[in-house]
Amino acid sequence: MTTTEQIIDKSLIAILEQVSDPEIPVLSIMDMGVVRSAVFEDGVVKVEITPTYSGCPAMDVIGDDIKKALEEAGYKSEINLILHPAWTTDWITPRGRKALEDYGIAAPLEAETDKDVLLHGKKIVKCTNCGSQNTRLVSQFGSTACKAQFQCEDCQEPFDYFKCLK
């Protein structure tokens, strides 16, 4: 139960990588770390996914999209939502973090620095537009539950910061 390892059948990786997060389309659900296992059992692909946030409305869509992608590849599937172990931003892959930054969302910092930024207004988060650290927290909650809103004080660009979840 407590394993944090992903168990993905090699032949399924390429298919699952095509499925993207509906709210962050540049990010594959594999790079997001929401797929915890995908294995063949009696000819059916059993997939376990875990929500980023409990109320994340994207989970239903992600489940449907996985089903569809596997169906197109000729597989029947069964999707299960699991809560344990709970998702953490550590599961976002380096490729995923880069995709976030390129898309204009600052990638999550470590837990302690995250606290300094969100509680004590420390200027650490880099602007995704110009790279300046002269940025300001606008709101602890952004366009989705997983993000906070920031603005760059140099180039004035507003951007999202993906909050650290551990």
Partner: protein, 251 residues
């Protein structure tokens, strides 16, 4: 039902999040400004997500075909076991924040303990929820400080809201019959043990916010037994309307 105590215990936890989530949802498009509007509704969304996990589990325990939606939407007022605090109205932004902070501070310590429950499903839900709730508490305590240590007007409004809602805090630490049975089995949390820590923490934040800790000895109670303030009926009317008007409708 074989496991009635566990079922009632889960509802006792989940109903707090359900009713508070509904209250915060009322602010959709009506928050004082865009950022706080989005924050309150994001917190609402987190709470509803948590409620789904609890009710899905409760539905399994009940084992009589009632779905998570039935449990959420089709009970009568007396069957909701939330504390009175969470059903109090959004009188003004200070009240919304005071209610949120007084609940979040409790919710955090409660979930911290629930992670140790011998019931693995409840422990897993708690482990998931606490990460979200720590952000809620940061938001609400931050606003208590900003309004308390703000202008003369914001301070007086914040102080009034804290004083008015204080009478509902003691109930957080009352035990129901289901609670007692679950504590005895190692599944439930003994909330009485959390009381001192809660009030110390809350007093600390109020002090930082230059607000006074209310000196009130008389407290309101009843929600955990299903005896609610007049506000709950109105919340349920809105919450249940679609299911009552169009039974079994799906979104």
């Amino acid at each position: 039902m074989k496991n009635e105590n566990l079922y009632n215990y889960i509802l006792g936890i989940a109903d707090n999040s359900l009713i508070l989530g509904q209250r915060l949802g009322e602010l959709t498009g009506h928050g004082p400004n865009l950022e706080t509007d989005i924050a309150c509704t994001n917190i609402s969304l987190d709470l509803f997500g948590q409620v789904r996990s609890y009710f899905q589990y409760a539905s399994k325990i009940a084992g009589d075909g009632r779905s998570e939606d039935d449990i959420a939407m089709l009970r009568k007022e007396r069957d909701y076991k939330n504390v009175l605090l969470v059903e109090q109205p959004n009188t003004n932004f200070a009240y919304t924040i005071a209610r949120q902070f007084l609940f979040d501070a409790y919710h955090l310590v409660f979930l911290r303990e629930l992670q140790k429950s011998s019931d693995l499903t409840l422990a897993a839900i708690a482990n998931k929820c606490i990460k979200e709730v720590s952000y809620h508490e940061r938001f609400s305590s931050d606003w208590v400080r900003r309004l308390g240590d703000g202008t003369e007007e914001s301070k007086s409004k914040m102080q009034e809201a804290i004083a008015d809602l204080w009478v509902y805090t003691d109930e957080l630490f009352h035990q129901t019959e289901a609670d007692k049975a679950m504590v005895a089995e190692g599944i439930g949390i003994d909330v009485i043990k959390l009381k001192e820590e809660y009030y110390n923490y809350v007093a600390g934040v109020l002090e930082e916010s230059t607000l006074e800790v209310p000196d009130i000895k008389y407290f309101q109670k009843g929600g955990k037994q299903g005896i609610h303030t007049e506000h709950l009926g109105y919340i349920l009317v809105e919450l249940q309307y679609m299911q009552r008007a169009y039974p079994n409708m799906e979104w």
